[in-house]
Symmetry: C2
Subunit: 152 residues, 2 copies
């Protein structure tokens, strides 16, 4: 866990939402804070668990709605291959990113690689296809884990 206050990022999110004319409500801000405080992707039900106030438990739609909002604004991303969510590492501008997912330790790295984006776009337009939401997730072994386990 990164237990830095992380307030700077959240204020950045505040101002981004003001620019976009949407509301970063306390509920949504809280979900974003939970994502940002985690060093790994979280499932919706893990977030739900993290949000519980003692005996008081929320229901799934609450967290799914907040997640829908955050993903829509680019403040978080959904990892389709994991059924899990991560906070965006650079939410200031619209972007389509790519993810490196270590199957061994769970580490996830968000890339924003122009060469990939271009090759996707050009392959799509060869087919007359207009991409709107690219899903690019490479599942494999991160550098640290490659060293740990050595060449198989």
């Amino acid at each position: 866990m990164d237990d830095e206050p992380d307030e700077a990022v959240l204020e950045g999110a505040d101002s981004l939402c003001r620019r976009l004319g949407v509301r970063l409500t306390p509920q949504r801000r809280r979900v974003l804070a939970i994502l940002r405080a985690s060093d790994r992707p979280l499932g919706a039900y893990e977030i739900l668990e993290a949000m519980r106030d003692g005996a008081r438990a929320l229901a799934p739609p609450t967290v799914y709605r907040a997640l829908d909002f955050l993903v829509e604004q680019g403040l978080a991303h959904k990892l389709e291959s994991l059924h899990a969510f991560v906070g965006c590492t650079h939410p200031d501008h619209p972007h389509s990113s790519q993810f490196l997912i270590c199957a061994d330790c769970g580490l996830v790295t968000e890339l924003e690689n122009d060469a990939i984006a271009r090759s996707l776009k050009s392959a799509a337009s060869e087919s007359g296809f207009e991409p709107r939401r690219p899903v690019v997730e490479l599942i494999g072994t991160c550098a640290a884990c490659s060293v740990k386990e050595g060449p198989r």
Copy 2:
């Protein structure tokens, strides 16, 4: 639906499995036939439904096991963003492919684009990451649907 017998493809699958030393049992062959006969991705429970013999219903593990096998041998692919499966359009050689998924009509096109594969590999290795299972799914609008609905 493509209601061609499609027997040629299934025999191709037979011989591929013989080469690989694995068994394309009647059950697995049947699931593959259902996938190949569909013009769109099918969910596991849709396949289950398609396999039922009158009153006789199968249970989920049966179809999931067959799907695991087919995906492992490269005879079918899983579309993570849809929780659905498609038969591979060119299963004769090992490959990592990319998918264009029309959000409007459901059309799915499997690409095998070298430029994309290279850009992914090179971006990964810059991070010391060793990709094993690439997930590349572009969700958007296909050529036909772009024409139908016109430029938004």
